[in-house]
């Protein structure tokens, strides 16, 4: 199955965007994002905390619908999914 990962803002600067992932069924969202980010320590550290969980402010969307990032380790990706990952932008 193929899944598209879209990073935004600071995450995009570190990790790029529109990354197509080909994988077998049953991949959890947390593992999916960690695998994609794994080549970039700065990117991994920006998105995940020391325990490997999503940092609490990271926004995760699956097909433009919000996914609670605390439950992302229990949610599996499906073929054709578009997963968006972004931080809130704070400046003004």
């Amino acid at each position: 199955m193929s899944i598209t990962i879209r990073f935004f803002a600071r995450f995009r600067e570190m990790l790029g965007t529109d990354i197509l992932v080909e994988h077998g069924d049953g991949l959890f969202l947390t593992d999916l994002i960690r695998n994609v980010a794994s080549g970039n320590k700065e990117g991994v550290d920006a998105i995940f905390d020391e325990e490997g969980n999503f940092r609490e402010y990271v926004i995760l969307m699956r097909n433009r619908r919000r996914v609670d990032n605390r439950k992302a380790s229990l949610v599996t990706a499906s073929d054709g999914d578009e997963i968006a990952v972004f931080p809130p932008v704070a400046g003004g």
Partner: protein, 249 residues
């Protein structure tokens, strides 16, 4: 009733909004939270559009490092209160409207009083804790909250309509860590214009708002994107059962 001078001043936008729409702008009262990067273009364009009463709150002093983006303030204003500088500029831009300035830091104790009877709040803050306070104030007063935020060449905007759309805390339940963010003036200029466009449409009653839509601007690649949003029933600010996490206002 628009005066002959106002009919002339706003002639080109009356072609767009009609005299009735311009009357609505004249009767409106908007609260701008912050007179910095976003607050500057927001205040300027609300003023020249003829929004009748503009209240601008900021507690900072103009510094040299502000001047690459905070276009309400000039070199000669360094050291002045931003509210003083802003009032001078906005009054000069449009003496036919009322400018009120508030030289205070917005917090959960004074937000409701400072916003007063405003018809909407424009978010020109640089931090989430104050944004949450303003979001909750807008919900309590049942007035829209026009959110905008920027970093570098990247920005976001959405319009919160209490009772109808996701609120700021539905979208961003947790604040990101504080940082000294990079910024070039065009980004708050761009996002501020999106917020003002939203506010003007809301007041005039035309077009479609960024309701349940997060507008995302990536200036690095010149891409505009949009993410659909929905209200979180468990949101501590606007959910069915708001919890103690909601700011006390």
């Amino acid at each position: 009733m628009l005066s002959p001078r106002e009919l002339d001043r706003y002639k080109r936008q009356i072609l767009l909004f009609g005299e009735e729409g311009q009357e609505r702008l004249k009767k409106a009262n908007l609260f701008i939270a912050g007179a910095g990067g976003l607050g500057s273009p927001i205040a300027i364009y609300l003023a020249v559009a003829g929004v009748g009463t503009i209240t601008l709150a900021d507690n900072d002093i103009v510094e040299l490092t502000n001047l690459n983006r905070q276009i309400l303030h000039d070199d000669v204003d360094i050291g002045k209160k931003k509210t003083v500088s802003a009032e001078e500029k906005l009054t000069a831009l449009n003496p036919d409207i009322t400018i009120r300035v508030i030289d205070q830091t917005i917090d959960e104790n004074n937000a409701a009083q400072l916003v007063g009877k405003a018809d909407g709040i424009l978010d020109a803050m640089d931090n989430y804790p104050t944004r949450y306070v303003l979001n909750d104030t807008a919900i309590k007063k049942k007035i829209p909250f026009f959110h905008g935020a920027i970093r570098g060449l990247y920005g976001q905007a959405t319009t919160v309509i209490p009772g109808k759309t996701a609120c700021l805390r539905c979208i961003f339940p947790k604040a990101p860590p504080k940082e000294v963010f990079p910024v070039v003036g065009v980004t708050p200029g761009f996002i501020g214009m999106v917020q003002v466009t939203e506010a003007l449409k809301y007041l005039v009653g035309t077009g479609d708002l960024l309701a349940n839509r997060l507008f995302i601007w990536d200036g690095l690649t010149s891409h505009v994107e949009e993410i659909r949003l929905e209200q979180d029933p468990a949101c501590p600010s606007c959910g069915i059962k708001p919890t103690k996490e909601r700011t006390k206002i």
